[in-house]
Assembly symmetry: C2
Homo-oligomer: 230 residues x 2
């Protein structure tokens, strides 16, 4: 019988793949690569490609990065059909995802649609917030503090409540929401302790401390902001 | 000049170390191993030992796992002195930590005490909550949901507020706080969607679905509970 692997490949640095991710990528028969837009390529593939079985078949599939759950569900259904057909042929097929497959990954929309008889193994990955904190040599949380992982796309009042209860915060999906996020960070007096990490571990990686000045100009899909109440 | 490495080795599975963690462990001169109690051994060392430079000097150091920040700070100061002395001798010295060094790690107490002239590199690790979700093939969060990482040791009202604002939750440090946590999960109607993972990736690893029955008996330091509003 074939098997389906959902593999987290970490935030960008090629050395932040796990031994398990590499071992599986080296033996797969088929790799599905999600592209945000058709023929636009895939950052995930660029990170993982040197570890992928060179004889593996590569299937590109369009996977829109949108907030519309119905569109994501439909995209997941399409990939699930491909997976089921490959597994029925006895193949080992993998889907790779930036960061970790359980945190804001399109992978969940595939799992939702997949025939439950398909054998699935999910390989966790290094998250962008852990990698960013590591790059800054600073903790996200200690002791009894709560850590909030917050998509900047969330409702503003909800974001503020999450900040209020937590000692540390990581803001994801900052792209196109930087003004809203900056307003919230100012109101919560977190702007000075917040740091933005752009393209963590990728070419053009940059740490931005003066985010009040620099955030407005940010048009980088892969930016995250981490902050901590001191 | 020497260098200090803080290395996350993941939750337990030896294949969940990153390539970078292994590369550094293979070349270090000195390894500091934190022991919760003197001569009680270290789970972190058991996980990492096959990758450690066999000629590396091993220094065991007592690092109490307590909620008293002053005691942790003092323990961190002792380790920082060892690190500074090794780095001054030009050595590469590493501290290993379960999971990720930025999330509830004693590592932060070393950094706080360390002379800022010491060169530091932090290597992120796979978190127990990502590994547990992967083991269950289920997402922690999707879309615009907030993820709360909650130590069960935190204030009860604060825990409830964090649950209210978030779509997914991971409860850490469940040990000795399972009754309190169960009461909260029942009140928030999360008890049925919650799953406990014991010793994720280690010998004796177990997934517990009927946590209402089983949680009371839990005396396992390395248990975590993940839950999600459906």
């Amino acid at each position: 019988m074939g098997k389906f692997y959902g593999i987290g490949i970490g935030p960008g640095d090629k050395e932040l793949l796990t031994l398990k991710a590499v071992k599986i990528l080296q033996k797969i028969d088929v790799l599905i690569i999600p592209e945000a837009r058709k023929s636009k390529g895939s950052i995930a593939y660029e990170i993982a490609k040197e570890y992928i079985n060179p004889t593996a078949e590569i299937i590109y599939t369009e996977f829109p990065m949108v907030n519309d759950r119905e569109i994501m569900y439909e995209a997941g259904k399409n990939v699930a059909l491909i997976v089921e057909s490959c597994v029925a042929e006895g193949k080992a097929i993998a889907f790779i995802t930036l960061g970790d497959p359980s945190i804001y990954s399109t992978y969940s929309y595939i799992l939702k649609n997949l025939n439950t008889k398909v054998e699935v193994e999910t390989i966790p990955g290094i998250t962008s917030f852990c990698a960013s904190a590591a790059m800054l040599n600073r903790p996200l949380v200690t002791g009894e503090e709560i850590l909030s992982i917050i998509p900047a796309t969330a409702d503003e009042e909800r974001i503020k409540s999450a900040i209020d209860v937590s000692g540390g915060q990581a803001f994801m999906k900052v792209f196109n929401h930087s003004e809203k996020l900056m307003r919230i960070l100012c109101e919560k007096e977190l702007i000075d302790s917040s740091v933005m990490v752009k393209r963590c571990g990728l070419d053009g990686c940059e740490v931005v401390y003066n985010i009040e000045e620099r955030m407005k100009e940010d048009k980088q899909y892969l930016s995250i902001v981490i902050s901590r109440k001191e």
